[in-house]
């Protein structure tokens, strides 16, 4: 029985009592208690009829209690303390939602968010939502900050949202106009001028950073008038890369002999050492740190230092044997300097020799936009 009604009755002839009840109802968990007291459970629907029956037989009912999920919920709902708590909680919640609790500012990086919050807070936080005049706050922000193009204030839930945009002036008005400068070294091949005053002509050789178009025009009165320079200037740009080859050089190599030194460290303090010293004159080392215990309480670290003996030898390599490989490397270096969509117009290879060293210079010419 998930939901049931429990009776506690006092009867002298309890067996007769339950025998009579069982003829009409299902009775469960019948227990005999001290002092002729009988306890049993019945379905909640039968409780009223059973009560009547018992009263008719003049059997003393000591208690009737209902159990089960339905009755537990019912009991909780009937509990005045909980109801009062719920009502007060809900009332508090509704009152709380009537107030603005926070200010959120959406603005550009140039505008100080904290300044806006400081300005708006006295007029909004802990005030009833309906009493906040958003138009008034908007005007106050406009008055307090310069160069604002857009201000919007709205109350959303318990948050006052301030949206501010800074005025965007055309570059001519901001005095931030500057001449177009050459982005690469090269020879100018084509000029498409939109506005501004040209400083170069087709065929001129320019260096990176040279002025190409000045930010002004001379009007019909002969006066200089500021203007944002706009142009597309193309030039042949030289890209060069160089690779040196030494046909006779000294190389260091590992002989294969090695010695390992072990140390145990605790918080960078040496607590054990295997007393191994490096016996080699020329060597290189590799240090590996390994945690002995995988926890942060005792950070024991095993430091393994390996010493490799080094020796030197003379390597002789003929340039002609590796010429193709060097040329390829040179081209690859040059390609890395190129931009997307660059087309190679010409290429040139120069090989210079001085003593043991051979220098390969690879030059390519590409046409690209160097200003605009």
């Amino acid at each position: 029985m998930k939901s049931y009604c429990k009776f506690e009755v006092k009867a002298l002839r309890k067996e007769k009592c339950i025998n009579e009840l069982s003829k009409s109802f299902l009775i469960a968990e019948i227990k005999e208690k001290e002092g002729n007291v009988l306890e049993f459970k019945v379905f909640p629907n039968d409780a009223k009829k059973i009560k009547k029956e018992l009263e008719k037989k003049e059997i003393k009912i000591l208690s009737i209690s209902f159990r089960g999920i339905y009755y537990t919920i019912l009991n909780v709902l009937k509990s005045w303390g909980i109801i009062a708590g719920l009502v007060i909680g809900l009332a508090f919640f509704f009152i709380e939602t009537m107030f603005v609790k926070d200010v959120e500012v959406w603005c550009d990086e140039q505008i100080s968010e904290s300044e806006i919050v400081a300005l708006v807070k006295p007029y909004s936080v802990n005030k009833i939502r309906s009493t906040i005049n958003t138009k008034d706050i908007e005007v106050k922000i406009y008055d307090s900050f310069e160069n604002l193009s857009f201000v919007s204030v709205a109350v959303v839930g318990q948050v006052l949202i301030v949206n501010v945009k800074q005025e965007v002036k055309p570059s001519e008005m901001e005095d931030k106009i500057s001449p177009i400068l050459a982005s690469d070294d090269g020879r100018i091949t084509n000029i498409e001028l939109v506005q501004g005053t040209l400083c170069v002509k087709v065929g001129d050789i320019v260096k990176k950073g040279d002025q190409l178009v000045m930010p002004y025009v001379i009007n019909s009165d002969g006066e200089q008038q500021k203007i944002m320079p706009k142009a597309k200037i193309y030039a042949d740009v030289w890209l060069a890369s160089e690779v040196n080859h030494n046909s006779h050089y000294e190389e260091q190599y590992r002989t294969g002999k090695q010695v390992v030194k072990n140390e145990v460290l605790l918080c960078n303090l040496k607590i054990y050492d295997n007393n191994q010293t490096c016996p080699f004159e020329n060597y290189d080392t590799i240090i590996k740190d390994k945690k002995i215990i995988e926890n942060n309480i005792l950070p024991f670290i095993l430091r393994e230092t390996t010493y490799y003996e080094l020796a030197s030898r003379v390597v002789e390599e003929n340039f002609e044997d590796v010429k193709d490989e060097i040329l390829e490397r040179c081209k690859e270096n040059n390609l890395q300097k190129m931009e997307e969509y660059d087309i190679i117009k010409r290429e040139n290879i120069i090989i210079k020799q001085a003593g043991n060293i051979t220098t390969v210079i690879y030059t390519s010419v590409v046409n690209r936009e160097i200003g605009g």
Partner: protein, 86 residues
């Protein structure tokens, strides 16, 4: 519908069964009875009930009359002995 008791009765045709009650003891922890005629004694050590042919006494410890209906009953607890008086 399948009836467990009728099946057993039918399988034992040689024995003439006149009784009108059925009693099942499940592992000495639960007794199920069909055809009782009323409780005569109720305590935690003995539960007795009438049947048409006489009286059945159930001895044990912590006995509880788990269910009681017009014709059936269920007793749970530690069942030590079941006795039939004719």
């Amino acid at each position: 519908m399948f009836n467990f008791f009728n099946e057993i009765r039918n399988s034992a045709r040689k024995i003439k069964i006149t009784g009108r009650y059925n009693l099942v003891n499940i592992s000495g922890e639960l007794v199920y009875v069909e055809g009782h005629k009323g409780i005569t004694l109720l305590s935690s050590d003995i539960i007795s009930f009438k049947v048409k042919e006489g009286r059945i006494n159930i001895f044990g410890k912590n006995l509880i009359l788990s269910e009681l209906a017009d014709d059936t009953l269920k007793i749970s607890g530690q069942i030590d002995k079941i006795e039939a008086d004719r």
